[in-house]
């Protein structure tokens, strides 16, 4: 949680955005993030992000579900309360496949969604700073993090030259806080000690 200074450039065309991202990165600026209304394939690579490991987490959760179901059912039916069903074996693996499968899927799906929300810091009543309201409509919004030596005017001009239709400099909260979207309050305003 920290208040930081950002130079924001808004683009209205994906192709312009891609070349701008390339140039901004070569010029040595640090891009905090690019906010887009829909997923743009290849932008994560252009920004130098690594692949997400979310699917690996999903696999692990799935295996956990399989183990839970298999160990749970076999303990119950073989050890804890063996039922005699027509003299058939207590360890009836074939009959358990449906439930083992369902629990695998359930664990994997629920685990992945929770992990997704945790990683992206998303939950009801979570609020974040939005650099531009149209980032969820039709603008691609690039936020450049300023350092002590950043000249905001130069940075703004640089973005405009590279095709940004709108530029501005903003001081904003970096992380998330609990808040409501109908209230204008900012995290750092209510706790002005944080700087």
């Amino acid at each position: 949680m920290a208040k930081k200074k950002f130079v924001v450039g808004c683009f209205d065309n994906e192709d312009v955005l891609f070349s701008a991202v390339k140039k901004v990165r070569t010029a040595g600026y640090k891009i905090k993030d690019v906010y887009t209304p829909y997923p743009i394939h290849g932008l994560d690579h252009a920004l130098g992000m690594r692949e997400t490991s979310l699917h690996t987490a999903g696999f692990v959760y799935g295996i956990l579900g399989t183990i839970t179901a298999l160990s749970g059912i076999s303990w119950i039916f073989v050890k804890d309360w063996p039922l005699d069903i027509g003299g058939k074996p207590h360890f009836a693996l074939a009959a358990w496949i449906p439930i083992i499968f369902e629990l695998t899927v359930l664990f994997s799906a629920v685990g992945m969604v929770l992990t997704f929300c945790y990683l992206c810091q998303m939950a009801p009543f979570v609020k974040k700073h939005h650099f531009h309201a149209r980032a969820t409509d039709d603008l691609f919004v690039m936020a450049i993090e300023c350092t002590d030596v950043t000249n905001t005017n130069d940075t703004e001009a640089f973005l405009t030259n590279n095709g940004a239709v709108e530029v501005k400099t903003e001081i904003a909260e970096d992380g998330w806080w609990f808040g409501r979207y109908d209230k204008e309050e900012m995290f750092f305003e209510s706790k002005n000690a944080v700087a």
């Binding site: 891609f18 992000m49 997400t52 358990w96 899927v105 409509d137």
Partner: protein
């Protein structure tokens, strides 16, 4: 991104020369406008039906299952018929959103949101039936395996009825998660353009603070893809397990090995029909004809004629096996109780045949597939037919027992059995009306994603590329 090549031969998925902003405007408009008079009327009717259903269920809970006309022989009547019917309908949404995503079918983007919503509401309706069929509904939690003070007495993990509990609850949960995770970015779109405080507050809560960050999109894409991969076998497993309720028994007419694929095909068939009924209305009422195009309707009609024919082959196979097995009980069920028009329930078998097998064949004609009125009429007919199918499977197999002394008199439902069914219609449409008013009925972000490759104006630009020879195209566009 711009490298994705779409042939001119394919119709555009989005008509009109839309910009991203127009897409947002078009889809969010119904949310921001006041509900129309038609909406209020529809909503009022739905809630009234729901209330009647609640009263019917109340009577069943207070007086017992005896409120229904079930008897010792026909123990599964309308109730389980309706259960299987609703579960079947609840298969199209996940099929559209998951299987068609894996198959890279671009047209799914226009209809997946509403189809998934329909799935969730249909599964909610389906769940009511087995729960209240238990009679002592306050003991419904006995179906869950948890350490209890009754022994502990566990549930029977070898029973298909318990598999059903797991399958349907998992299916509901996963569909809900899939649907909601797709809704997050669209709720954020509504939130960020909201004019009123209340709307900002509510959509702010619902959007979980979505920003549209590239990293979040990357994870979101990964999440959708894996959830689609999980849902694909899941959706097939659910109706397979429902069919096991019948197929693992020893009742003539039920214990057949073709049940799983036959039920899954039937589920997709009825689910797509329900999607058609709703889409044809939504695109008209909300003016979304540019997004849910005739091309979408045609694609779904093709699925309907395919699955309808699969179901038809299953019916004929069953009849053949009824004769070929030389089992007189099988033969009696299939050739007397069902195929004989003059047997007590023969009318339901031929109703099913007419609605499910014969009538969808009309969709071999391209003109009929692209006709909205024919589509709507057919979609209703298919769902009537699929209801008959479940009724035929359940009632005609059991109303005449092995022992003629326990043969049932003619089973017909009581008003409270019918009321329960009508009540689930009320529940379904109440939910659907609320969804249509307060949720983006089309996945906004997904439409924007396909807009530049399959939108009408972008397709026109492709004409030049279409005329280029392969060498030039590769030279210019590949790196």
């Amino acid at each position: 991104m711009s490298l994705k090549y779409e042939s001119q031969l394919r119709e555009p998925l989005v008509y009109g020369n839309k910009t991203y902003h127009q897409v947002t405007e078009d889809i969010v408009r119904p949310i921001e406008a006041k509900p129309t008079k038609l909406w209020y009327i529809g909503f009022f009717i739905s809630v009234s039906l729901l209330m009647f259903g609640v009263y019917s269920v109340y009577r069943e809970v207070v007086y017992g299952v005896g409120e229904w006309n079930l008897n010792k022989t026909v123990g599964w009547g309308w109730d389980i018929t309706n259960f299987v019917w609703w579960v079947g309908i609840g298969h199209a949404g996940t099929l559209i959103s998951a299987i068609l995503l894996l198959f890279r079918q671009g047209w799914r983007t226009g209809v997946n949101r509403a189809a998934e919503a329909m799935t969730i509401f249909a599964v909610m309706c389906a769940g009511q039936f087995p729960v209240f069929h238990m009679g002592r509904v306050w003991m419904a939690f006995f179906v869950f395996p948890y350490p209890n003070t009754r022994g502990p007495l566990w549930v029977n993990f070898n029973s298909p009825l318990l598999w059903d509990v797991f399958a349907i609850s998992t299916y509901f949960t996963v569909s809900l998660l899939f649907w909601y995770s797709g809704l997050l970015p669209d709720f954020a779109t509504v939130r960020d353009r909201a004019k009123t405080k209340l709307r900002k507050l509510l959509y702010g809560i619902a959007s979980f603070g979505w920003t549209g960050s590239t990293k979040h999109w990357q994870r979101h894409e990964s999440l959708s893809l894996v959830l689609a991969g999980l849902s694909t076998p899941l959706v097939l497993s659910v109706h397979t397990i429902v069919s096991f309720d019948f197929a693992t028994s020893v009742i003539p007419g039920w214990h057949t090995t073709i049940f799983p694929p036959y039920f899954v095909a039937g589920a997709i068939f009825s689910g797509f029909a329900m999607v058609q009924s709703l889409m044809v209305v939504i695109r008209k009422v909300f003016g979304l004809k540019d997004y849910i195009t005739i091309g979408h309707i045609e694609a779904m009609n093709k699925v309907i004629v395919l699955t309808g024919s699969i179901v038809g082959i299953a019916y004929l196979t069953e009849l053949f096996m009824g004769w070929y097995s030389q089992s007189k009980y099988e033969g009696y069920t299939f050739w007397y109780s069902r195929a004989n028009l003059f047997s007590p329930y023969g009318w339901s078998y031929w109703g099913m045949m007419a609605c499910n097998v014969l009538s969808p064949q009309i969709f071999w004609s391209r003109k009929m597939r692209r006709n909205v009125f024919v589509t709507f009429f057919m979609s209703v007919l298919v769902n009537v037919g699929m209801w008959f199918e479940r009724f035929v499977i359940i009632v005609t197999s059991i109303y005449r027992d092995y022992l003629p002394s326990s043969w049932s008199v003619y089973y017909s439902p009581s008003i409270w059995e019918i009321g329960f069914y009508l009540g689930t219609f009320g529940l379904f449409f109440t939910c659907f009306f609320l969804f249509a008013k307060y949720f983006p009925t089309i996945a906004i972000a997904e439409i924007k994603y396909v807009l530049k490759t399959t939108g009408e104006s972008y397709k026109d630009k492709m004409e030049g590329i279409e005329n280029e020879n392969v060498e030039d195209f590769a030279h210019k566009h590949a790196h």
